[in-house]
């Protein structure tokens, strides 16, 4: 990866990473090491941690990411019905939707956005109407609970710091499904196994960017070394705030909480986009999870013993 980043203009998918992140031609910074479970390191094979930065302010809702993802990863087509709330016809992330474009219609003054060149479409004759669109995806967390709870080791941490399901091992126990705080993973009907975004692991291995990022016509989806993307996102946020977009905010652009490998620039509260505002890192509650189970197990021994206090018959 590192040799590509020095070039000023890299054509997407041609061996570098996202053109957007390469414009400034920075060196690849050290990202926080993500140590795979049960493994100390990838040694020489370890790559910089890669991620997605989804800048929703330039999303035009074309769903090219959804289509490209399905095409490349051979995800079954789901001709969904329109949800009736806007142009969303897939509803949520799941086994058959590894990207999901949310459409939110709001009554809101939009002149600020237009002046800032955010491209948020307004409807003629509706000056106080705005459309929010955002392409959601697996967050590839540092503290991934799906990976923690997976009983077979089917879910694993790649050399790119991402989280991937090995379909030849998954036995469809379904534990990762309620473990995920973002509702990303689901079992595929008729298949029985769990499927989710792999960040196009196969493409990554060949130095290509994921299909969704490559297909995105506005570079709303940007791919690159996570550390670099986070810096870039902060710059973008500053720019937006200066331009008067007071709503703009970053979601998951640091190592706090889950340490998301895919993060977002939003124009409203996360929950409006179906994102949890402050998810608790569930599987790191080791003491309260196992501690009370241990005490309860001890209490069972005491309880049964107490039943024999009055005699054994």
């Amino acid at each position: 990866m590192s040799e590509a980043t020095g070039e000023a203009n890299v054509i997407p998918g041609s061996g570098g990473v996202s053109d957007a992140f390469n414009i400034e031609g920075r060196d690849v910074p050290e990202s926080r090491p993500v140590i795979p479970l049960g493994q100390k390191t990838y040694d020489g094979e370890e790559q910089p941690r890669m991620g997605f930065f989804t800048d929703t302010t330039v999303c035009i809702g074309c769903k090219a990411c959804q289509v490209a993802c399905k095409e490349w990863n051979e995800v079954p087509d789901t001709i969904g019905e329109l949800t009736g709330t806007s142009y969303d016809n897939t509803g949520a992330l799941g086994a058959d939707n590894w990207r999901h474009v949310a459409f939110i219609e709001q009554r809101k003054e939009v002149f600020v956005q237009q002046e800032a060149g955010l491209g948020t479409p307004a409807v003629e004759g509706e000056p106080d109407f705005r459309w929010l669109m955002s392409s959601d995806v697996c967050k590839h967390c540092t503290e991934a609970p799906c990976l923690d709870v997976c009983p077979t080791g089917s879910l694993f941490r790649t050399e790119f710091g991402t989280v991937v399901v090995q379909e030849d091992i998954c036995n469809g126990c379904g534990y990762c499904v309620p473990a995920c705080p973002f509702g990303v993973l689901d079992r595929r009907e008729g298949d029985g196994r769990v499927w989710k975004c792999t960040m196009c692991y196969d493409r990554q291995k060949d130095g290509m960017e994921p299909a969704c990022a490559q297909a995105c016509p506005t570079d709303s989806i940007q791919y690159g070394p996570l550390e670099e993307l986070r810096e870039k996102a902060n710059g973008r946020l500053e720019m937006l705030v200066e331009a008067g977009a007071e709503d703009a905010r970053l979601y998951g652009a640091n190592e706090q909480g889950y340490g998301m490998g895919a993060f977002f620039l939003l124009l409203d509260d996360p929950e409006v986009y179906r994102l949890p505002p402050d998810p608790e890192v569930v599987s790191r509650r080791f003491a309260s999870l196992w501690g009370s189970a241990a005490v309860a197990a001890g209490a069972m021994i005491a309880g049964v013993a107490a039943a024999f206090v009055g005699g054994s018959r």
Binding site: T85, V149, P276, A296, A297, G303, S312
Partner: protein, 326 residues
């Protein structure tokens, strides 16, 4: 929120901007609006089916039974010890069948055993259940055939040591998820499951054993049933009105109420007339039914809790506000 079952969630939901599909949207926080993506869930509902709550019950009962068996053996009540051990074996046999059949790919069940993974309660549980099944089976076989007495005793002890782990790890399993009603109850759930397991073990033994040998089993089941009833209430109270709401409505609400009645009547019957076999059988059956229903209520409450975004969003918003305020 008053009384019985859900008061027309559809109406209340659509009026106040709750979920448009009308699934559980009665506002408990009236002052401010809960924001969401058109009422769609943030979390995925679990994909687990009926086998899982039944396993929570069967595994729990088995774990309590092996412990009861060892205690009876130590006290010289061999009849009770033998019956309880048979219950433990029954549970240990049914459990893997239930678990494997719940898998999306049952033929790949063995993948669970290709790793030892302490971060996964399900993986640890698989190992505990396997060891429990092996030791309980060995203990029963040795007891029936009358061979290898020392190995048989050793198996009994091992089975009794693994029993409480088997009964309580399932609480950790479901608490180690993002489902609010499960995760927020991670401190209380193991105790609820422990009490319920002891009540089931006592009830099953009291059904299978003649009353003159079953006094400790009766005491265990009555005491544990009362503790179970109390702890369930403690759990709900500590969850708070909003997070515990699934226990008050829809399927989980009905199951919870049914469980409470069944357990209460069963415990009363067992306490007052347990010395007579028919009453012991009836009381025991009611307590067992109460335990199954309670696990089912906890199970279904998780689905309801995952389905409505307010259970996810409101506590997280409160946490954010507290952090900003501090």
């Amino acid at each position: 929120m008053s009384g019985r079952y859900e008061p027309q969630p559809q109406l209340a939901g659509s009026e106040q901007g709750g979920s448009p599909d009308g699934r559980g949207a009665v506002r408990m926080v009236p002052e401010e609006e809960v924001r969401s993506y058109y009422g769609r869930p943030v979390l995925k509902e679990p994909v687990w089916t009926w086998e899982v709550p039944l396993y929570l019950f069967a595994g729990g009962m088995a774990g309590g039974s092996s412990l009861l068996s060892l205690a009876a053996r130590a006290g010289g009540n061999h009849t009770l010890a033998r019956r309880a051990l048979l219950v433990a074996l029954g549970g240990a046999t049914a459990s893997p069948v239930l678990l494997v059949s719940d898998l999306g790919r049952p033929e790949r069940f063995y993948e669970m055993l290709r790793v030892f993974k302490p971060t996964s309660p399900m993986n640890l549980g698989t190992w505990v259940l396997s060891a429990f099944g092996a030791t309980t089976g060995a203990a029963v076989a040795g007891d029936i055939l009358g061979i290898f007495p020392r190995a048989t005793r050793l198996s009994e002890v091992a089975s009794a040591v693994l029993g409480p782990a088997l009964s309580t790890y399932t609480a950790v399993l479901i608490s180690d998820t993002s489902v609010p009603v499960w995760h927020a109850a991670r401190r209380e759930l193991p105790f609820v499951f422990a009490a319920s397991s002891m009540a089931s073990a006592g009830a099953a033994a009291a059904i299978l054993t003649s009353p003159e040998d079953a006094a400790p089993a009766r005491r265990l089941t009555v005491g544990a049933a009362l503790v179970e009833l109390g702890l369930t209430e403690v759990m709900k109270r500590r969850l708070g009105d909003l997070v515990a709401e699934p226990y008050e409505r829809e399927e989980a609400g009905r199951l919870d109420k049914l469980s409470k009645s069944s357990t209460t009547v069963g415990a009363a019957l067992m306490a007052l007339a347990g010395r007579r076999r028919p009453a012991a059988v009836a009381g025991g059956a009611l307590i067992l039914a109460g335990a199954v229903l309670e696990r089912w209520a906890v199970f279904r409450a998780g689905f309801q809790s995952a389905r409505d975004p307010k259970y996810t969003v409101v506590p997280q918003r409160e946490r954010l506000r507290d952090r900003e305020g501090a």
